[in-house]
Symmetry: D2
Subunit: 358 residues, 4 copies
């Protein structure tokens, strides 16, 4: 079976596992006070080219919800793309952890908010108007839900608008590495140098088993975060589990290599799809996700060939990009573990070459 439905269907990459094994023996202080966590923080400070506050947790939903809670009061509004993960895919965790802040969707094609749409949403909530929740934070998903990537200029434009309105800024980097490599920039450039206050630095999808770091650049913002994390049940008892994964992930540029590979596999898939009659890509493939419309017959071939992609909602495609009743809309996600011949097999199956060969 070839499963490209998501990049969380695979396990850990080898260096991450080995770091875990290396950290297992002997005693270590609990609750994130262990030397592995300390080393992970040091490595992250190197990655971000400044001292960071690092709070690791086991899930992306936990990381995002905790991060947003640090940026908004309960009577605040948090702005994010209308189809983003914090809006649609966390069962209301941001509402729970912020004690009921309003998560406000900002529309935009290809998974990206537009400046105009953000301004329109900001205008709904008057500063100091008591009946209105107060604009407090902006969350940018990078990679977006559509697999696209904001340029540095785009990020800077959003954070500038946010700062003008007094908002704090969050970057949901569940696929941080894939985005960074897509842009060819540094972690610092994509975050604090572009006006980001807090980052969910995702590692689970790109090689770890369960490890996401909430990274603060301003210690004042992080002041009470340790209580938030503990109270949310997100402080692991044996903190080495998180510290060791992050060490294995970051050392020797392992994370870079993993994301480079995943992105390359997505490009390979996208390039192949462009050659296949009937396959249509609604927007660019910027990182490790490929969205494509294929004929139902091709879907059937995938099923028969035990190849899995994720059926996707057509809500988000651009106006005019019609999906026919005889078509399927799919998401393929490549990972560090995706093999080139798996992509070849997907393409062969979709193009009908596989059936012909068998």
């Amino acid at each position: 079976m070839i499963n490209l439905a998501s990049d969380n269907v695979v396990g850990a990459s080898r260096p991450v596992l080995e770091a875990l094994l290396a950290a297992n023996d002997g005693v270590a202080a609990p609750y994130g006070t262990d030397p592995f966590t300390a080393k992970a923080t040091a490595l992250l400070s190197e990655v971000f080219e400044r001292e960071v506050q690092n709070f690791m947790v086991a899930t992306g939903t936990g990381a995002n919800a905790l991060a947003l809670a640090a940026l908004t009061p309960p009577w605040g509004a948090v702005f994010c793309h209308a189809e983003s993960h914090v809006m649609d895919d966390e069962c209301g965790a941001p509402e729970m952890f912020t004690d009921g802040a309003k998560i406000v969707g900002v529309p935009g094609l290809n998974g990206k908010m537009t400046i105009d749409a953000l301004e329109e949403q900001l205008a709904r909530f008057g500063k100091g108007v008591v009946k209105s929740v107060q604009p407090s934070a902006l969350s940018i998903s990078q990679v977006t839900e559509a697999g696209t990537v904001y340029s540095l200029d785009e990020i800077r434009a959003f954070t500038a608008l946010a700062k003008k309105h007094g908002l704090k800024t969050h970057l949901d980097g569940a696929r941080f590495a894939n985005a960074m490599l897509s842009l060819g920039c540094s972690a610092a450039e994509m975050t604090w140098k572009a006006g980001i206050d807090v980052v969910t630095f995702g590692a689970s999808k790109n090689g770890c088993l369960a490890c996401e770091a909430v990274i603060f650049f301003d210690p004042a913002l992080a002041e009470n975060f340790q209580y938030r994390r503990k109270r949310g049940g997100h402080t692991l008892s044996k903190g080495r589990l998180l510290g060791a994964q992050m060490i294995g992930y970051l050392e020797n540029d392992h994370w870079i290599k993993n994301a480079t590979h995943a992105n390359a596999m997505a490009q390979k898939l996208a390039n192949g799809l462009k050659q296949i009659a009937g396959a249509r890509l609604p927007w660019s493939v910027d990182a490790n996700e490929v969205f494509v419309v294929i004929p139902q017959a091709a879907q059937k071939a995938l099923d028969e060939g035990e190849i899995r992609a994720a059926p996707w909602s057509s809500n988000c495609v651009p106006d005019g990009f019609k999906i026919g009743a005889d078509e399927a809309f799919l998401r393929f996600v490549t990972s560090f573990a995706t093999k080139a011949d798996e992509i070849d097999m997907v393409l062969a199956t979709l193009s009908g070459r596989r059936a012909a060969a068998e």
Copy 2:
């Protein structure tokens, strides 16, 4: 260094690690729909001698807070020992996850509530009295914060009183295996056969890295638990991490062996302490925790010998059991990884034999 401050200062035991490695390769569905999780649930159903609803998470605080939230409305009262983990050690997670229920402490010596004290606390909150939060759940810590273990008769007496008042019952089994072996009973006997509705089945302290199962016996109580867990950020993306740990933990009676060893090490330590002049145990050693008062000089010897125990609050000792200004009150916790010669070394250090030998 010998660190017996807690049983969370060690890593995973070997079979758990191996199960993790065995589960790592290949694709598996995410969010707990993987075959490892399914197998873990099947094994837990065997352990509990009936079909169970199993929701695994990475932390004990998450497990407890989520479990209690399933048992009480926000206007409810949850009763637990006045010094229990859910009361004192979770930074208000139960209050957060229950959306503000009142956690009511029930006093009692040796870490155990008394029936009289529970009745007295229940009497504070009138059923149907609108100004009063409504008694909703009882949480029993087994092993208790004092390392003691409720007998089956005691558990049954508490659950009977709870049921009489319409409460649901939770067992916080962070050290489930240690308690069960202390009683020499089955998992079923210590839980649903004794009137328990929901269990936090702890595995992290007894061999796993981060794995606790919230176990329901009545599917109706578990009805919405999947939303609670997701919303709390406690649904792991790569569910195999939890499933595999639990498989390694349960198969071949590994968990039984680990806890048997930990309990034996605690007995060895306790027996040795009883021979040492100046060492005084405030209550029985039932499982894998040893609380002891020692002279400050002995504490100094421990420090010099790089032996760590946890300084403990004297609040909980019985009236009359005075701790002098020249004494220290300590908790030692043994684990699957504790070695007999480590215990010997602790005893030699405390008795002065080590210094004499050096």
Copy 3:
């Protein structure tokens, strides 16, 4: 000064005040167990032609937030018009009282949701899809934020769709009487006979000082509402304040008379406006609110004449209904206290006749 900015800028009507005075002397049991509250409930049961559960509170925001909390779990989604009061004007009270449910805006012209738009929003949240908040309740504002009124057929269509998806239904009747008289129907027809489960029966705007009743038709839904109300701080100690107001409001069809008058004043204003050059109404005037675009010069005349209306956001006007830079968009709200000659004065001022006369 003539203030038509809202119907909450006036005090109580005379019969309500008199009922308050009549109820003031003597002792009465507290917390809503007084005979005035009991009589109010009996009167409301007559009004709704069946036995109702009646929970009175002092504010509309409290009433709405409490009502919605009774209809959704924290992981639920509540659907309402995108510009409704529960969405925009309660500073997140619904999120607070529901412990973080998602309030989902359904767009639609003239303050009314459309069935299509509701279906589209419902489709975002898959039943049983764990990552998704679960559709739980629909809230219909009647009168709408645009001053329009849903027909009985429209209400029935919405509640039918809601029931099909397993939602409970709420009617925000802050201006209940104005809507009912606009439709010429009974209170029963506009609510439970049309599929409504819970009503915010507003009385403050139509003659009371501070009195809103949360009305349940199904006692099972109301089961825990007394705890919710108390816990929200919305159970008045001297319950007679609410009971007496409601008695004065309902007896002798006083509420009907008040709303009839307010609606008539709005019609008079609307009819007059239609004769004034440059005044444009974006949609129908169904109850006691008149929205109108006027030239800036006319706005100036209002200011000079000490006539106040509420400046309104142009977000909600239909596409194509452009508001020029030299125009103002205003809301006028009439009440039981509005005098015909005040309307005449407004019209004279807007038409320029007043300036000419002076």
Copy 4:
């Protein structure tokens, strides 16, 4: 019938009603921006001898819960007497409004915390200890639940200890006037001059219908309170209802006169009780509440004479003060409306003189 079960069983006093009537006609801006509210705030600033931030609401539970929420984060601990109103009588409102802070009971006889007991409770929660909720606020009930009154020295000792631990301080003054007159001090002396940060200034029990003011002395603490109040549904639409009551309450020392009378009636009752064989007072009568143990026969006489007091829990009586099976423990509360001959009748009934006379 004579009902002395509480001071909330009576309506409003005449000057309060008249102020309400006087404020009823004409238009006024909504949501607390009206001139009546402004005047009330000015009067309160006079009462407290400095400029205050004044937020009026309709209930004491709302006032207390909102006030505490301004003083603690969700991971905070709020200390109060173990039998105080915020602990026992608000159905968890403080937990709800603080988003789940822990309300910690401090024991003490006669309704008063002791310094030692507070220190003991503070010691449970280590500053900076992540697993522990963080001590954040102290709430002092003045009058206490036992009807006793803290001396100014006592208040100062508590606030000094609180400040030393970094806590903010709240005074629950549901019966503020009765306490102040008992002490013979000024409002300023009993609050900010004694180290209090926020006051619930109760007016409902002493002459109003529904009016409590949350008073801040430091504007920084009140910064976001307007959002909290709105979000809690506690911002009245027709703010004049609150403003006018408070004006009537404060002008011409009306509130002083009311409380003076109520306290005098309680003294009269207490003095009479001391003459009655079999009547025993467990502690001093400091304000307008009288707690007394009487023989069951006397209770029967009260019932037959249609005299109501509140049966009270014996939990709070001092050790050694035994209440026999043939005795009843009652609370009598006097108010501005209590008549001297009602007290005479109560005493006559209890002493058996009434029965003899009939």
